[in-house]
């Protein structure tokens, strides 16, 4: 059971405070994971209970029967990872089965359910995933990060089978990152490879942005945000040729979104310690200039943040696996304010 960080730990930076106010929303969710806006309300998932809830004024109301949840074979939480609201439907990426039961009809799947509908009306769009994580809408398809395959896959509307769009190659790391682990397993002078581990995805103007977490030992600055241009960069088999790096040096980037003004937002889970795990209060929200890659920290002190959700009115919501929900609201600007 994760402990919750004090609400005061999370704060806006001076740059963030110029543009936003911060609200902290305590909810009964124990391990918030998926998050999206539905008008002025938030839809959220909870990996500790399988709940899918609508949050209005801090009150969380179940909107469907809880989905399967638990710990997977790697002793990590699995369940309803992410949620997207689209055309008055909920689309949920449901992780692989937990270790305590056999595979079920909802596992490793993209699920859909009308926002307003009978409780049992869950449609399995496809189970053709290993462990689907983040998702984004693109043309008449869903682009889904299948993190355990280090791949981006596409599910066309009406299809049941996914097509592989891109498999992220392993990332090269210098020995320096592993020095603190072992002098014999990782001797000096050698380079090592780690899994790319794609996490978040955002689509804007046909450009696909993906955050790369970088595999263990999650070295400081080992993550990146990359751009896949599926239209200009396609091989004859339909797969992407590669990607360009928008920015690197990120600390475990776990999600990416594009805000109402077209600016890139990246959520960093934080710094990793071999003994303590991810350090509490080391997560951050960054804004990125798409062309220069210049970073600006908007919020800091986040505790295992996992999901960003942007509202067309400029509000930004953040789900923290071990903390309250956070809402950044743009400050009023322009006429009438002196």
């Amino acid at each position: 059971m994760l402990g919750h960080t004090p609400a005061q730990a999370q704060s806006l930076t001076p740059e963030g405070a110029k543009a936003f106010t911060l609200d902290v929303i305590e909810t009964p969710l124990q391990m918030p994971s998926g998050l999206d806006w539905h008008g002025n309300d938030l839809i959220a998932t909870d990996l500790a209970t399988g709940r899918v809830v609508e949050i209005t004024g801090g009150i969380a109301r179940n909107i469907m029967t809880p989905l399967p949840f638990g710990m997977d074979v790697m002793n990590e939480p699995t369940g309803p990872y992410k949620v997207a609201v689209y055309n008055e439907k909920l689309y949920i990426t449901q992780g692989w089965q937990d270790v305590d039961r056999g595979e079920g009809p909802l596992d490793h799947a993209l699920l859909a359910r009308p926002l307003l509908g009978p409780d049992h009306d869950v449609n399995v769009i496809s189970q053709d995933f290993w462990n689907p994580y983040d998702l984004a809408r693109s043309d008449r398809a869903w682009l889904v990060v299948d993190a355990s395959k280090n791949a981006l896959v596409k599910l066309e509307d009406g299809a049941r089978q996914v097509e592989e769009v891109f498999v992220f190659p392993r990332l090269e790391r210098s020995n320096g990152a592993f020095e603190s682990l072992s002098p014999t397993a990782f001797p000096q002078g050698k380079a090592y490879e780690v899994d790319a581990v794609p996490t978040g995805i955002a689509v804007h103007d046909s450009r696909v942005f993906v955050s790369l977490f970088g595999g263990f030992p999650y070295v400081e600055g080992g993550g990146a945000l990359v751009l896949l241009n599926l239209e200009e960069n396609r091989k004859t088999d339909g797969k992407a040729q590669g990607y360009s790096v928008v920015t690197s040096g990120l600390n475990a980037p776990i999600d990416v979104e594009v805000d109402a003004s077209g600016r890139l937002l990246v959520l960093e889970m934080g710094r990793y310690d071999l003994e303590k795990g991810f350090l509490p209060e080391s997560g951050q929200l960054l804004a990125l200039d798409r062309d220069s890659g210049k970073k600006e920290v908007l919020a800091q002190g986040l505790f295992l943040p996992v999901t960003l959700a942007t509202n067309p009115d400029g509000r930004i919501a953040i789900a923290q696996m071990a903390g309250p929900l956070l809402i950044l609201t743009p400050r009023a600007t322009g006429k009438g304010e002196d």
Binding site: N75, S182, P183, V197, Y272
Partner: protein, 268 residues
């Protein structure tokens, strides 16, 4: 979820406090913890004291120089500590479960427990009046008195002798029947003459002591790292050699190929 160690655990400090000035009551559960309750499946085997070969001049630089040293006799668990044994201990003591305790392969009852730090291994042994072996004791047990290359002798490893990996470091294979860890004691032909199982292969084993750059007298201990011995299911034959030394951060508890066994002084 993918391979992110997102779970952090907050130890209940209050649960570990003892009232100052008084000893904890010697409850039946505590008494049970202090005996070695796993003797039926994991008996303690006597390793005779005396002089023996330690180190090697034909290995890595950190194995040199080879020398002859004297070690007192001791008892050693026949096998690596298993998941079943560690789970029983964790249930009674309140210790955190091993990281892979629920893994469908690595977490099986008779497989060696993996995903535990040096301190956790040491604490397990201590609970039962045992301790981790020193590097010197471990080599005495694995190499005999004359410094054999592997637990069974000098012949190269084979699928009938040990659970190990590909020939060129490092990666797993199934040629020995197991793609990852194997139930302890699966390779009778790989045992030492005294009957110790899996001293070469299966999982690396924590030993007590700090890593040093070599065995020269006065070599400076690097207190960032502990030592692991014996090689594992994804090691090449070179790393299976009983003189090979793996330096590793003792706090690391996510290795899927690192375990331990315990020893006991014969005077106890």
């Amino acid at each position: 979820m993918f391979k992110i160690k997102t779970v952090t655990r907050i130890v209940c400090a209050l649960c570990l406090l003892a009232y100052p000035g008084s000893a904890p009551a010697d409850t039946p559960a505590r008494q049970k913890l202090q005996q070695w309750p796993f003797a039926k499946h994991n008996p303690l085997i006597f390793i005779k004291g005396g002089t023996h070969v330690f180190g090697s001049d034909n290995g890595e630089a950190n194995e040199a120089p080879q020398m002859r040293i004297s070690t007192a006799g001791f008892l050693m668990t026949r096998t690596e500590i298993t998941n079943a044994q560690y789970r029983a201990y964790a249930t009674l003591s309140g210790a955190e479960p091993a990281h892979y305790s629920r893994h469908t392969v690595l977490g099986q009852d008779q497989h060696p427990v993996v995903g535990i730090s040096f301190a956790e291994a040491k604490a397990f042994c201590k609970r039962y009046g045992l301790r981790l072996p020193s590097e010197q004791e471990w080599e005495r047990a694995a190499r005999g008195t004359e410094g054999r290359r592997f637990a069974w002798g000098d012949e190269p490893p084979g699928a009938d002798k040990a659970n190990y990996g590909v020939e060129a470091c490092c990666g797993p294979n199934s040629h020995d029947g197991y793609a990852a860890s194997a139930p302890v004691g699966s390779y009778e032909k790989g045992q030492t003459p005294e009957g110790l199982a899996d001293m070469s292969g299966n999982v690396w084993e924590w030993v007590d002591g700090w890593y040093t750059p070599d065995h020269t007298k006065g070599a400076k201990a690097d207190k960032r790292f502990r030592v692991l011995k014996g090689g594992a299911w994804n090691s090449d034959p070179w790393r299976l050699r009983a003189s090979y030394r793996q330096g590793y951060n003792g706090a690391f508890r996510y290795a899927a190929n690192g375990g331990f066994r315990c020893v006991k002084d014969t005077k106890d």
